[in-house]
Symmetry: C2
Subunit: 387 residues, 2 copies
Amino acid sequence: MKMNFSSFANRIVGQSMFKILAAAQEIERTGKKLIHFEIGDTHLEMPDIVKDAAIKSLKAGRTHYGPSIGEFSLRSAIVNVIKEDYGFTPDISQIAVASGANPLIYYIISILVNPGEEIIITDPAFVTYNAVFNMLRIKGVYVPVGYHDGFRFSPAEIAKRINKKTRCIIINSPQNPTGAVYSERDIRAIYALAKKHGLYIISDEIYSSLIYEGTHFSAGTLDKCRERVIITQGFSKPFAMTGWRVGYAVGPQAIIEKISLLSQTIVSCVPPFLQDACVLALDNRKKLVKGYRIEYKKLRDVACHELAKAKNLSFSKPAGAFYLFIDVSKTGMDGDAFAKLLIEKASVVVCPGSGFGVAGKSYVRICYARNQDELVRGCAAIARIAG
Amino acid sequence: MKMNFSSFANRIVGQSMFKILAAAQEIERTGKKLIHFEIGDTHLEMPDIVKDAAIKSLKAGRTHYGPSIGEFSLRSAIVNVIKEDYGFTPDISQIAVASGANPLIYYIISILVNPGEEIIITDPAFVTYNAVFNMLRIKGVYVPVGYHDGFRFSPAEIAKRINKKTRCIIINSPQNPTGAVYSERDIRAIYALAKKHGLYIISDEIYSSLIYEGTHFSAGTLDKCRERVIITQGFSKPFAMTGWRVGYAVGPQAIIEKISLLSQTIVSCVPPFLQDACVLALDNRKKLVKGYRIEYKKLRDVACHELAKAKNLSFSKPAGAFYLFIDVSKTGMDGDAFAKLLIEKASVVVCPGSGFGVAGKSYVRICYARNQDELVRGCAAIARIAG
């Protein structure tokens, strides 16, 4: 029987990272050991006190359906985080919990943007954005950025691309895959553009606790998430809880209601016993997050030190997140060819930058949230191959 | 700022059950206690050995990202279940894990059916189906069923509704909200129709372990899930793990691949430490599921005994799931009015049947997976009000 898919199904594309993973696994089947720098996950473990809280709640039977918008207790804790860390107090109706920050990208874009309409975003950008644009037939309008401009789009470049079809600007600070952190001045200018043209801002702040120089400024503080800014946030990156799949959105109440209805239709709810433990993570966030930040900063510096030895690698020290986005064009190769060579000659797996957008073609991404010994060995090998 | 949603957002409808819940909560705020028969969840707790397995895996650090198609170990355990319980051995590439069986409804329908195309299903049917049809602009083609025909659609009625736009038939046996269980003969006849007309069958078997008379027959056995049948299944109902959000699909490899890509784009993965525990649940399924089945059967009989005292209530004893779908038309009221009266006069909350489809208008649904004392009190009150 010939499979007959919907046109939607034909627009579902995988993440190109998985192609490089498949190639890596083929080599590993021959018995060769590889160093993995490709996945955006961390070598560090989540906090034991958060595990303990989950165990307690699991034993207490918090294993039944809960509200699709999220547990009241976790939503209250999130209100408190925004109050203390962002300086404004959202109404609890402005908070929805979801199965990670990633589903929120799909939910929010499908709620706000019609097929054929436009979203302004950097190129390169986090892979889920492109995947969602494709699926929903939304036009991503890209501002190419590179290591020389710190991978940040300027308000002037955004302004040039706004037209009647523009619905939304996506700010991801600190950014995956580049580690770029936006200044308060730029974010205020982008917000002013959004306000002038009646646009929404999706502010993807999943790496906001991982800033090594400077401070985090959220567009959400400018309208208290009441008009046009929707913050997406989660537990994966701040607390090394990538496999937990818990995230949240802070935004205008009407949008939060739609997110909740869509959650209800798709996943029903997020496990209540996991949400209970997330309350504890938030209550202890300052202490918990600091430990991870210190460690990643050290690893960033170690990786930069090793990679700087290669004259053919161009990069700037990223101020946030846990990635390095490295221009390899001086090697005479593009990112795909360089990544392929790295697996074969250095047993190191990295992400080709092309997976993050056309402007990433001459780059590779490494995730430096790795054991230090492995990181040094891997980066030394990359530098050696690059020359 | 006026919120400007996408047309998709305007098609996201909530579940009507939540309206009755809101009314109930308003009454509870006055201090009055209510008996809740509306939610499709159970009073029983999940097995301790499954909790223990999750705790062990959580402590072992299985808290990082995993493959979006599901852990190899859980997918292997599912292969084994199908082999032992269904009599055929699917390839592991025919198995995908998801965040519950519910998201699979959205994933599979969006993958197989275009806007404007048609799916044949009973009226009444589980609420997520209608919600998904609405969102995706798919035409649900309904076969009305009632308590007199055992709430089962006949192959002849299905055949009448097949045309060039038909893409899929949904079989949900045992069924929510009616408890109907399909015979092998009917399922074979429906499968023959699907084969003749090149249609897919979504076989929603989430209640398959809760059959009190007769046996479960899966359409999946007819093509070994290789051509046109996709089974959706989960842990929520068989193991009282509703809040865990783990489910799976067995289907043709090409469809499973698309499900995996969509999972990857939306939720990334299902928590690995929860999947590890699900392996243990499956390995011990015969023993674990039997305990729940015996308890629900007893409760079904208790509820039927009480409700049979009312001459104005019409229902047949359901062979599966944990619901009673009761025709209240002899009371002179429709299901909505009767449900409203029940809250006010008997402090009992039930689901109006209208939420499950037009043909459910004169019905109410109760979930009898409740503490026996409460069940007897609630059913006696319903019978008294009905007269």
